[in-house]
């Protein structure tokens, strides 16, 4: 795995580099004393894994994660254990190492990162929405692949970097895009009616002007998508 180290402390960077040298699968591309330099680097280079310090002046590790698009896997390194809960709210964070880091704990973190890699590479075209098996769609939530019965999905809504998948039984929030999930769904069943919404056409209750009622959700239909929607309907 190609990795970079971001830590404002030279001592910490040196220790991490030494720990990495014990793991043959790791290749350190660069080390950065601040997140801004790392962001500039990531704009032009791809990495598999980032060792990221949380406590940095001006721009913290969490600021960094919020800033970069499609973050790679991240292992947080910190002197505090108090951020652990906040850390695991981010899908990209695979582990959390408290300094000083011992080699056995470091190796365990790398194994975790590698296992996440193997799951993701099974479906290289996708970010988090993974595979279809028959009527099922598997989504990656908190590093678990959760099976969703496709016909039970009635609505998918885009919200920033996430999509909300609504089914008859349960709702799911997945780090992915509407475009990616749309590619995984049967075209005869699902239709994009608005830049933020994909609906299951079989679940429509009624249509009024520029909106559709699906279950209890009123969904806007954009002018450009309306003709395709009308084509799908068995109109009397």
């Amino acid at each position: 795995m190609n990795c970079i180290i971001i830590d404002d402390e030279a001592t910490a960077r040196t220790i991490l580099a030494q720990l990495c040298s014990n793991v043959p699968s790791l290749n350190i591309l660069e080390e950065f004393p601040n997140a801004i330099q790392a962001i500039k680097y990531l704009n032009q280079n791809e990495v598999d894994l980032i060792f990221l310090d949380i406590h940095m002046p001006d721009f913290t590790g969490f600021d960094f994660i919020e800033t970069i698009k499609n973050p790679p896997k991240i292992i947080l390194t910190t002197s505090d254990s108090q951020f652990a809960i906040e850390a695991f709210e981010y899908d990209c964070i695979v582990d959390y190492l408290v300094k000083p880091i011992a080699l056995p704990r470091f190796e365990k973190a790398i194994k975790k990162a590698e296992s996440v890699t193997s799951v993701l590479t099974q479906a290289p075209e996708n970010d988090k929405v993974e595979t279809i098996s028959g009527n099922d769609l598997y989504v990656n939530i908190d590093r678990r692949l959760i099976k969703i019965d496709i016909p039970s999905i009635y609505l998918i809504e885009a919200k920033g970097d996430y999509i909300h998948v609504k089914t008859e039984d349960k709702n799911y929030t997945v780090h992915s895009t509407l475009k990616k999930i749309e590619e995984k769904l049967p075209k005869d069943l699902f239709l994009k009616v608005h830049r933020s919404y994909v609906i299951n056409v079989q679940k429509i209750i009624d249509i009024e002007d520029n909106s559709v009622l699906i279950k209890k959700d009123v969904i806007p239909v954009s002018r450009s998508n309306r003709p395709e929607l009308m084509k799908r309907l068995n109109l009397l």
């Binding site: 030279a10 001592t11 910490a12 220790i15 030494q18 002046p57 002197s79 505090d80 000083p100 080699l103």
Partner: protein, 105 residues
Amino acid sequence: MEQPNLSYINELSGGDESFKNKLIAIIKKEFPEEKAIYIKNFEAHNFKASAENVHKLKHKISILGLEKSYKIAERYEDNLKENSTSGEEAFNNILKTITDYLETL
């Protein structure tokens, strides 16, 4: 007062003397700089910034095997965040112990 040691650094280096010397040299350079920034912020009564400096120094304290001192630093960092200087003397003693120890390396 507990004394600093090189147990962690020795374990990390795995007998690689050049790495060990490199790391010690970095600590010897970085520690006085971090200490100076902490003192400057503390004297300016900028306790929030001092807390950040203590946070950074905690790593050096732990690397040098000072487990009890680490707890003291942790509490002191929390106090500074609340604009309290309670624990300053104990923390300064830790800094002095480390300073003296680094001079012997």
